[in-house]
């Protein structure tokens, strides 16, 4: 009988990804409702450090798949390895990160193993017979409870939905799972990774932090202040319709009714009044910070934290303090 929870941890350059450390908290939450033990499988190449880091943060057991085929993410190799880890652990629930890799892998494996799957989950409840996963839909404006029965179910978790798991002071057992990759297809080959500099090229769709600028910036050159804050926070740059229409910024950065809908962990609106046409594109954000000179600006009504003040004074100060 399937039992317990398996989490699929990713690494980057031999270290756990931040999303994998949040994943542990999701795994602990799932274990609390589904029972059994919490096993973590960690994948990559040269991941001894990542494995012991994982073992120190509250999981019951760690399974390591360390192989050159896992040095770079490919669907074929990762799905092949994770499938074997699932068969070995025989869990009730498998949880993946909400990274581009996790969101790529989970549906593939759910189809392979005929398991129900819920994406982008922000809370886990229910019990072993019926796991209840809460997830945002319709651009984050509303949420839905997904009930997962059956013997085996799968989830991906929303970025930032669970806190990073802390070290517990004890360490779980670490075992190696030998995977023979000779049977794994190799239909997609990686040619390289072009790294983006922090902030600069981060895509809006995947960004945890978005810093958006509006007409309050007065002229296009002042957008440098937005870029500097975004860089300091490792976030992406976005713009209101007013400044896109004025030709200051490209359309792909535009948030709102005629632009993109985003729901990052943190959305910082600078010099944006918060017209409804803008707000529909970002009100699903987990937390909203507004910086505006006008205390009556509607953006303050939906802000979790607002500063009424001159952005030309506040922004340089904020960037400086964040870098300190």
């Amino acid at each position: 009988m399937p039992n317990g929870v398996l989490i699929v941890a990713e690494t980057h350059d031999g270290a756990l990804r931040p999303a994998s450390i949040e994943l542990i908290s999701a795994g602990l939450a799932a274990k609390a409702v589904a029972g059994g033990s919490l096993t973590a499988v960690v994948l990559g190449e040269g991941i001894v450090t990542a494995a012991s880091d994982l073992a120190s943060r509250g999981v019951d057991a760690v399974t390591v798949v360390d192989h050159t085929r896992l040095a770079q993410f490919t669907t074929d190799a990762y799905a092949f390895a994770v499938e074997q880890a699932i068969r070995a652990a025989d869990p009730r629930l498998v949880i993946f990160t909400g990274t581009t890799a996790g969101r790529d892998l989970a549906p593939r494996l759910a189809a392979r193993l005929q398991a129900p799957l819920a994406a982008n989950v922000t809370a886990i409840g229910g019990d072993a017979s019926e796991i209840i996963a809460t997830r945002p839909v319709l651009g984050g404006r509303v949420q839905s409870d997904v009930r997962l029965g059956g013997d085996l179910a799968m989830l991906t978790i929303g970025p930032g939905a669970f806190p990073k798991a802390e070290a517990t002071g004890s360490s779980a057992s670490i075992e190696t799972l030998d995977v023979d990759f000779s049977g794994a297809p190799e239909r997609v080959r990686v040619t390289g990774v072009a790294t983006v500099d922090a902030g600069g090229g981060a895509s809006l769709a995947n960004a945890d932090v978005i810093v958006a600028g509006g007409r309050g910036l007065k002229e296009p050159d002042n957008f440098g202040l937005i870029e500097q804050l975004a860089a300091a926070m490792g976030g992406a740059v976005a713009a209101s319709r007013a400044v896109v229409d004025a030709g200051w910024r490209p359309h792909h950065e535009q948030i709102g009714q005629t632009g993109k809908t985003v729901a990052p962990k943190l959305y910082i609106a600078v010099g944006i009044s918060g017209a409804v046409q803008h707000n529909v594109g970002m009100q699903g954000s987990e937390r909203i910070v507004a910086i505006n000179r006008d205390p009556d600006a509607p953006i303050f009504k939906i802000a979790s934290f607002g500063i009424v003040g001159d952005l030309f004074d506040v922004l340089p100060e904020l960037t400086k303090q964040l870098k300190a």
């Binding site: 969101r103 989970a106 994406a119 319709l138 651009g139 949420q143 040619t191 990774v193 995947n206 932090v209």
Partner: protein, 253 residues
């Protein structure tokens, strides 16, 4: 080489028209049904491949009779023919059941590429294309931000947390398009007229019953922490310091 392409398009509520009823917490979807924005990007990607290399584009949509509208829109953008897979209430099916219906409908066709948006506007699961790929036994490339075609081998750039990953893959292939891949064109008047003469076939597939293993509640508004903190009439340095402290206490900095 000319590519035989299938594009999966989903009909969704117009997300820009979605409102939340403050009293009940229920979403008000509005009357407008549109092509999911990510799928429009997939249609555009197919059109660009066809324009550069030749080929044929079949757009496929599963749902009630109204999905004919999104098929017609894709035809007006320049796709060649449509395939409507009749599914009376697609929203009661989970992604795997939907993927099985689509894979079943495509099993008799030959194609080089299946393109689809990374995820739909409404439920945002992003699962159907990868599940179709698995069920058809072919490879997938997700979060695609650039496509370069060289015959049966294509190179892609894809979004990852570490930057753009470059990959090479051979047809047949499922390609999931990221938002930044392109800006979808609007149908021209000529395209709209031409679409009326393009064929839309109806697939005969037996829709599997909804899986008993998964079900979900009607969506409801989440409660947002109501009154936010407002810092006013303070020197910039102090206001910034309060914000930095708040960001840190919320693990955001």
């Amino acid at each position: 080489m000319a590519y035989s392409m299938v594009v999966l398009v989903k009909q969704t509520p117009d997300l820009n028209a979605v409102r939340v009823d403050r009293a009940t917490g229920q979403p008000l979807l509005g009357d407008q049904l549109v092509m999911s924005s990510a799928d429009a990007i997939a249609v555009e990607a197919a059109l660009q491949l066809k324009e550069a290399h030749g080929g044929e584009i079949t757009v496929v949509s599963a749902g009630p009779p109204s999905v004919k509208d999104v098929l017609t829109r894709a035809l007006a953008m320049g796709a060649d023919k449509g395939l409507l897979i009749p599914v009376e209430n697609p929203n009661v099916l989970d992604t795997l059941a939907m993927a099985k219906i689509i894979a079943d409908a495509l099993s008799g066709t030959t194609f080089d590429l299946i393109l689809a948006g990374q995820h739909a506007d409404d439920y945002e699961s992003g699962q159907v294309p990868a599940q179709v790929a698995e069920l058809l036994g072919i490879a997938q490339v997700s979060w695609v931000t650039k496509i370069e075609a060289n015959g049966g081998e294509l190179s892609f750039e894809r979004d990852t947390e570490d930057g753009k990953q470059g990959v090479i893959a051979s047809t047949p292939l499922v390609v999931m398009t990221a938002e930044s891949l392109n800006e979808p064109r609007y149908p021209s008047l000529k395209g709209i007229m031409a679409a009326k003469k393009k064929p839309i076939e109806t697939a005969s597939v037996s829709a599997p019953a909804a899986s008993g293993a998964i079900s979900w509640s009607a969506p409801m508004a989440q409660s947002r922490p109501s009154a936010g903190i407002i810092v006013q009439d303070k020197p910039a340095a102090d206001a910034a310091a309060e914000l930095v402290a708040w960001l840190k206490s919320n693990k955001l900095a």
